[in-house]
Symmetry: C2
């Protein structure tokens, strides 16, 4: 049934004019989120993507090309197309470079929202390499001691291959929580966790309705989270000459025709260039075995990055992928508008 | 007077048998810490370094060599010598590779404690490149929901050049606080900040005397800090086949003769390979100007990574570098033992 969901997303994207490559890439990235349980970056994005493709902010048939190449580095111009197409192309290029040079880095210019950074990082691990993916995004997070929106939730994602297992996969926003959490807590009438949200003056709040900005990761040590957001900014916007978080048209803007000129960065690292593969494999396996068997506090378990998400993937293979009510309604509208068969829906919650 | 302090450290290291290159590198790394106000990684390490060099855990005249090289990647064997020598040599090599290939990555094998990761990252920025440096270290930090020592404080450091200014420099432990903070709070009789420390069962504590392990960065979202510690582990130990944090002889072990076989990783990235230099420079300058002028909460200021440290560097240029009482006593013993002129001391605090 995940296949039906993917086919539905693909059909909608094609129906609004996306070319085959764009529909493939955007569907693949959304399904990464939906299969792994990262619903904020799953198929709920279809409505947004269809809207910006239809209106023209995102090019439906972009000219994506390498515009600069030197040694182990390349820069890809995404032609203001969908970020997922740019992200997969850039990571493929980084992996290809790394097979020759041991490491490959690709900057991305003129991109749009690419969804879950982990979707691209994990491609490297699936090819036996270490992966890194980042981008910046429009301002939603205050600085440490800041009283104004500054960085985006600027994700950092790393992956590593694990012999005979699914990849080690860390995909994290550099804010304390994703902004989606605020929307969720508003709709559920719940309080925000401590140290995650601030009001318009930058003062800490737990009221999701008063929340005007997110806190950087780290609570009292939020200068570390803000610094990590800066890493995303330097690699994504500074290294590509693209717009800073504070300069970007918000993703949610009513202006759906002006391109956003997002930057991004992908990197692949070939362990074989550093060490014999059996040594790498043995050390990685030992690390994860040690981690998973490390004592936990009563009533909890310890997990490696990705463990929770891969387990959710398996659960959803059986139970199906849950769809929230807003997305279900959007799907029904799409089916009606484009003459598609309605999807059987597993309700969320 | 910083020069006098450096000369004193150098003389002590030479007196215990370190070769010129080792004494130079270790002094340079310690002075990076002491000048920037990172006293945990400053000249207080001299006593430790002299002890392990004298006893033999760290080789006094190591054979440091590149043992593997492919494209834009190299691996350096530190010959069980001082980590600072390995760190500087590896970053020099990464910078050299990046001048040809746009990016350069160097793994380090058979290293010892290298002090402040930022000392190596900043070398890339001084050469006009983006830098990254990491290593793992012996277990002091629990996992998220963990009840046992697992990762080291595993630092991650990034730097970037800023035209006409000192580098942007993020040098952070992936634990909530460094272990040194526990020792400091014990001696001062102060409570630990919330969410930074756990007792022997992994339960949160603010009693520094009950503190048996540190918390990962992130408080309630400590899975991110633990994941970042994993990044250090994958790059430093897994990619080099070195010992995991849980396997390392503790730095503080009474066994001062067995080498520790630490791994490390250095990377340099040449912006010129991605974008025209004026575009990079303008974007970086604009980013930092925006950041420093972003509104702060009442009574606070916002700072970029490194701002606090570079300002401290300037203050210490005038006021001198403060020395804590234990280190002052060690210096007096060294002066006596090796016939060196005693240093004029600026007391800490």
């Amino acid at each position: 049934m995940a296949d039906d969901l993917a086919a539905f997303c693909h059909a909608v994207l094609r129906a609004v004019g996306a070319d085959e490559a764009t529909a493939d890439a955007a569907t693949r990235a959304m399904m990464h989120g939906s299969r792994l349980g990262v619903d904020s970056h799953g198929v709920r994005l279809l409505e947004h993507y269809a809207g910006v493709l239809e209106a023209g902010r995102v090019a439906r048939a972009p000219y994506v090309t390498i515009v600069r190449e030197l040694g182990a580095v390349a820069t890809l111009d995404a032609g203001f197309g969908h970020g997922a197409l740019a992200g997969y192309r850039a990571m493929e290029k980084a992996i290809s470079i790394a097979s020759t040079y041991g490491i490959g880095a690709v900057g991305i210019r003129n991109m749009s929202h690419f969804g879950p950074a982990g979707a691209y990082a994990v491609e490297a691990a699936k090819a036996g390499l270490i992966g890194f993916a980042t981008c910046n995004s429009d301002s939603l997070v205050r600085l440490h001691d800041g009283a104004a929106l500054f960085h985006g939730t600027n994700p950092l994602a790393w992956s590593a291959p694990v012999k005979g297992q699914r990849p080690w996969l860390l995909d994290m926003a550099t804010s304390a929580v994703p902004f989606n959490r605020v929307l969720l807590y508003r709709s559920l009438g719940l309080a925000m966790p401590a140290d995650t949200a601030s009001d318009e003056a930058g003062a800490a709040t737990t009221d999701p309705h008063a929340t005007a900005m997110l806190a950087p990761l780290g609570a009292a040590f939020g200068f570390k989270g803000a610094g990590l957001a800066g890493v995303a900014e330097v690699f994504s916007a500074v290294l590509t000459g693209m717009q800073l978080s504070t300069e970007l048209l918000p993703m949610s803007s009513q202006d759906k025709t002006t391109p956003r000129a997002l930057g991004g960065y992908m990197m692949a690292i070939n362990p074989d260039a550093f060490v014999d593969r059996p040594v790498f494999d043995d050390t990685m396996t030992r690390y994860l075995a040690n981690l998973r068997s490390s004592p936990a506090r009563p009533g909890t378990i310890v997990m490696a990055p990705g463990d929770r998400e891969w387990a959710e993937w398996d659960r959803r293979e059986v139970a199906g992928i849950p769809i929230d009510p807003d997305t279900e309604a959007a799907f029904a509208r799409f089916a009606e508008a484009h003459g598609l068969d309605p999807l059987p829906i597993r309700p969320a919650g």
